[in-house]
Amino acid sequence: MNNAYLLIDFGSTYTKLTLVDIEKEEIIATSKSITTVETNIMEGFDKAFHLLKQKYDENKIKIIKKLACSSAAGGLKMVTIGLVPELTVEAGKRAALGAGARVLKTYSYEITNDEVNEIKNMKVDIILLSGGTDGGNKKIIIENAKKIAVNLKHIPIIVAGNKCALDEVRTIFDEHNIHYITTENVMPKLNEINVIPVREKIREVFMKNIIKSKGMDGAEAFIDGILTPTPAAVLKASEILSKGTNRLSGIGDLIVVDIGGATTDVHSLAEGYPSKSGINLKGLQEPFAKRTVEGDLGMRYSALALLEAGGEKMIKEFTSTEDILKKCRYRHDNIEFVPQNKEDIDFDEALAKVATKLALNRHVGYIEIAYTPLGEVFNQYGKDLLEVNYIIGTGGVIVHSHHPLEILELGMFSKQEPTLLKPKNPVIKVDESYILSAMGLLAYDLPDCAFRIMKKYIIDK
């Protein structure tokens, strides 16, 4: 009898199961069923589990652990509050995105009563409060803490701001019995970013509080743990694949493109320093593991937004179909639509190409040319990803497409846009078995095993 891990992704639409033989390091079977968060999350799980059981021999496989990630019930919804939009606000946003959150909105400077009410009405799961470098501005974070303490009592808060303001923030929150935890400053020095401690705290709060508030406590009796929001599991898998583990060396810098119905996520695992000499790196430092989410680029719910973002002209570059608006509207109105005929499949692929192109354009860094009396000088904002080794595609449209490479090629460097630092010669791979989030979960327990499986099923395939 072989030992196996059951890895579960309670997704926004589907609950996906992956059964992994951890001795042979093989995927035994996968299955999925519609997520049932309105009634009982376990209903959808049971259906999927029933389907899974038909695909393997229960006498030969023993499930020793069940781990889950979740983006059900709207995912982990956060707002972040900082001081200057380009600095602590941006740093906080990057930390929250890296933790797999949906960042509904960011706030800068002193928050107003209107903004407080807006946060109240958005039903957020966690507020990230930052502001000031260590030793820097204390006033704003303290003012904002006061407003939160009085008006936003029941939302868990993570404080990651100026350490010199922490004592006072604590006193305010303690006086009002606020549920909060503190961690290191997300921007301890000017332009220096510190996302990992914040990411860990977000995950902690997610595990402790969020599961219950999402009607998922029923799952806890059966599952060993809901470890993380789904996007964070994908990022974790990507990080292991790129960097390797304590014992195995990674495959180097890579980008993961995840095209979904509502959003397109891009993860880059790379420092992103200038690859050529004589370039000034400007702006806020980038995290090694960076995730961006494009809320207006998606295949279904966001199809109309995608049309607006790319314009008809860009979609027409990839398809000869007329009725572009009609087709986008249909997808927006029917989020469970699965294309059957060639025309619809082609159209989905055209949308995916636009999503890939725009999402990568926004994710990667760019070069700005400044003309000075001493000649041209080059400033780099964001990450230089020209030399990245791999682009890996995942998400329904890519996994099910017959031409995934053609879609992902749109994420490459283009001579038409020479200032955008997209990969020049990447190897393009597809997460055909759709295992990235599952491997992120497995990596919490068995990183070596997760790494080897990803290599086997994605890279060496």
């Binding site: 001081l83 200057v84 380009e86 600095l87 602590t88 502001g131 000031g132 470098t133 260590d134 030793g135 820097g136 501005n137 204390k138 006033k139 010199c164 921007m187 000017l190 000034n280 400007k282 400044a370 003309y371 000075t372 009396p373 001493l374 000088v377 400033n379």
Partner: protein, 138 residues
Amino acid sequence: MADKKTIVIGVIGSDVHAVGNKIIEYALTNANFNVINVGVLSTQEDFINAAIETNADGILVSSLYGHGELDCQGMREKCDEAGLDNILLYIGGNIVVGKQDFKEVEERFKKLGFDRVYPPGVKIETGIEDLKIDLNIK
């Protein structure tokens, strides 16, 4: 950290003179200031944003390529707008083109809202002494 005064330094505009910038950082740090260096090719916003987050006591602008006057227009007003009330603003270097009467130059920059204006060739020690006076450092 708390008892040190914080000064934001940098080179404004399309100006890439990095050496003096490094010397100023070194000298100010040795004089017990907490130095926030936004580096060369910095915009007014780079200086101001840095000053807000770090709760700076002063901004020390360098300009060596002659366009200082253009680059600094509206900077005091932006500081006021950003809530940096009465923050010290210094400027020094080759801040205008050619050999102009420094008295006039100084007057023009004071009108722009700078507290102290330095001609070419001034030693950084002079600026440090002035900072100590203006910030009441004993």
